[in-house]
């Protein structure tokens, strides 16, 4: 077990910089997730921790040992790959025993450890099979078994669930979480799937274009996204963004077309400033009372069973807006719904750099 320190870690290929000054302190036993769209550099960052990519600048340390110049084998890590990377010519048993054999662990000890790990992962019956005879989910377990059996101080996961079907993915996600809690080994998990990120991670790093957008717990990211990118990335369906302007007195936002919504705090220092207003689909409610509200002209309705997604246009301005209503609602096209939102659920972002605006 170990903590991981990243100190101004950067990566560039020739002149092309792909990661910029990443700072992060991952605590001992913590499960952290690096999340971002494809091409944001998240896998590269993981591979730098693993030692599969050179660190161009900065310093990475695992358990108080600077690992910049250490071979992957010397870093005391284990990695689970997206395509599992099981050795096709070896049985499941030998796949799991390979690392231990290299370390020179005695034979009976190897057998004991492999069998115990196989028991934890419920793959005891397949130990003699070759990887080709296993299903996707079983291969995934073997890949994890190979990592666990070595009892490393850090686990690295590189999109381990993306090759599984949706149902299996949910099941394995839960198992990974339970396993990590049980073993208490520091884990770094890379994914492009925000649901995986939110459910698995104690803390998340949202990466975009090689820059850290935000670091924080899933709740922090959801409730106080630091940038419009994070706000749009976390949550499904994603947040609605509407162009607006802060009023003269700083107490309202004014939308083009004349609608206004009041703000929770006094934004007078940003008076008259154009802003990007973010509202999550699940925070918008249909409200027939006399409370302050705005209208929503319905275009398309999607029924998910538990929820109903209502796509349409907002107010008189005509911007697209999605509303998520709980339960099954019968709403016709062209209908106009009165909507309201709790002012504290409105997020304001700078339209130019996407930063969150504070009162």
């Amino acid at each position: 077990m170990a903590e991981i320190h990243l100190n101004k870690v950067s990566k560039s290929y020739g002149d092309v910089a792909v990661l910029h000054d990443i700072d992060w302190h991952i605590r001992d036993g913590e499960f952290v997730v690096i999340v971002g769209p494809s091409g944001c550099g998240k896998s590269t960052l993981l591979r730098m921790i693993a030692g599969l990519e050179k660190i161009t600048q900065g310093e990475a340390s695992i358990g108080n040992r600077v690992v910049n110049d250490l071979e992957p084998a010397e870093r005391d890590i284990a990695m689970v790959f997206q395509n599992y990377a099981l050795y096709p010519h070896m049985s499941v048993y030998n796949n799991m025993a390979y690392g231990l054999k290299i370390k020179g662990v005695p034979k009976d000890e190897i057998e004991r450890r492999v069998n115990r790990t196989a028991e934890i992962l419920e793959i005891g019956d397949y130990l003699k099979r070759s990887p080709r005879q296993l299903s996707g989910g079983q291969r995934q377990r073997v890949a994890m078994g190979r990592a666990i059996v070595r009892e490393p101080s850090v686990f690295l996961f590189d999109e381990p669930l993306s090759n599984l079907d949706a149902k299996l993915r949910v099941q394995m996600r839960l198992e990974i979480k339970k396993l990590q809690e049980r073993l208490g080994i520091t884990s770094v998990y890379v994914t492009h799937d925000q649901v995986e990120a939110m459910t698995l991670g104690h803390r998340l790093m949202v990466l975009n274009g090689g820059h850290v957008e935000q670091l924080g717990t899933p709740i922090e990211l959801y409730e106080r996204p630091a940038t419009a990118f994070v706000a749009g990335f976390i949550g499904s369906p994603s947040m609605n963004f509407l162009d607006a302007k802060i009023s003269e007195d700083g107490k309202e936002v004014e939308f083009p077309g004349g609608n206004t919504l009041s703000l929770a705090q006094d934004f007078s220092k940003h008076a008259n400033r154009p802003v990007n207003v973010g509202m999550r689909p699940e925070h918008l409610h249909v409200d027939d009372s006399n409370a302050e509200k705005t209208s929503h002209t319905v275009d398309v309705v999607e029924h998910l069973g538990a929820d109903t997604l209502v796509h349409g246009t907002f107010g008189n301005g005509g911007s697209d807006l999605t509303v998520r209503l709980s339960g099954i609602r019968t709403i016709g096209q062209g209908e106009v719904l009165p909507l309201s939102i709790d002012p504290k659920n409105m997020h304001l972002f700078d339209p130019d750099d996407g930063r969150r605006l504070e009162a």
Partner: protein, 293 residues
């Protein structure tokens, strides 16, 4: 439902395949059948008449210690060539697989020897090892070793093996490199994380995974050494000294065109034909069984 298409009978398709069929018939079927027929004949010393003798030529061959000696020599020669060229190619491929800068140039240079004709390859080595003029002979002389493959049968054999193997290295290299590059990179990375160094990775992961290619090349190289090394032997040693490098293909030529024993020579080529057929069958039967990732 698919409509069954009927073509009007036409000469065009026959015309289009004709060149290939003519080439096959003239250069393969016809000579092969001639060899088969000739192998059952014995010609008199002046070439004026021939007699049908059934399998006497074959029976005689298998009682001939010169022929059996050539057989052994060929097996030794073929496996030495196959082993040497493959071992060398494998080493080069393993190194090229790790090269990043200038990889294309490096590979192109390694492929060049394949474009050299066997006779030319033989001629190159003959010059380098010539007992009076050769640069290697000179170097060996300086080091205190007197090289003369024209007198020493072992040295002559060594020289034809080297010359043949050198020519095959490029071909083998190409296949090994392709096989290595088709191994998913993550497997190698997983092994690296598991603690295996480059050498261990090579022997425990890469080598087992390219085994289908190794087997394929083994057959190809043995076939090459059996049948396509005539030019090299002819240029380097002419089968000498004292038949030390007379391999089967060379003996076919020597007995048939120099010794003028057409029946015996034809019988030898029929045996060679059977060998190549069986090697091809092995090739098709087993090479298809691939390791899948």
């Amino acid at each position: 439902m698919l409509k069954r298409v009927h073509f009007e009978p036409s000469f065009l398709p026959f015309l289009l395949v004709a060149p290939q069929i003519i080439i096959t018939v003239v250069f393969f079927i016809w000579p092969a059948s001639q060899a088969l027929y000739q192998s059952l004949l014995v010609e008199d010393a002046f070439g004026l008449s021939s007699e049908f003798v059934w399998f006497d030529n074959f029976i005689e061959l298998f009682g001939d210690e010169h022929y059996l000696g050539a057989f052994q020599r060929t097996i030794f020669f073929s496996f030495s060539v196959a082993f040497l060229s493959m071992a060398f190619a494998l080493t080069l491929a393993a190194m090229a697989d790790r090269v990043i800068k200038g990889a294309t140039t490096y590979r192109t240079f390694l492929i060049w020897p394949y474009a050299v004709a066997p006779v030319v390859s033989g001629a190159l080595w003959v010059f380098m090892f010539d007992p009076t003029l050769g640069i290697f002979t000179y170097t060996l002389g300086v080091l205190g070793y007197e090289w003369n493959h024209k007198l020493n049968g072992g040295e002559a054999m060594f020289l034809v093996i080297i010359a043949s193997a050198w020519k095959q290295v490029a071909y083998n290299f190409l296949f090994f490199l392709a096989a290595m590059q088709s191994i998913p990179k993550s497997l190698i990375e997983a092994a690296a994380i598991d603690g295996a160094g480059p050498t261990r990775r090579f022997f425990s992961i890469i080598f087992p995974l390219i085994s289908p290619t190794t087997f394929f090349l083994m057959v190809i190289n043995v076939v090459f050494a059996f049948f396509e090394t005539f030019g090299i032997v002819h240029a380097v040693t002419q089968g000498g000294p004292a038949k030390a490098t007379e391999i089967l293909v060379y003996k076919v030529f020597n007995d048939g065109f120099i010794g003028l024993d057409l029946g015996g020579s034809a019988a030898q080529s029929v045996i060679l034909m059977l060998i190549v057929i069986s090697l091809t069958v092995i090739q098709f039967r087993y090479v298809e069984k691939k390791v899948d990732y």
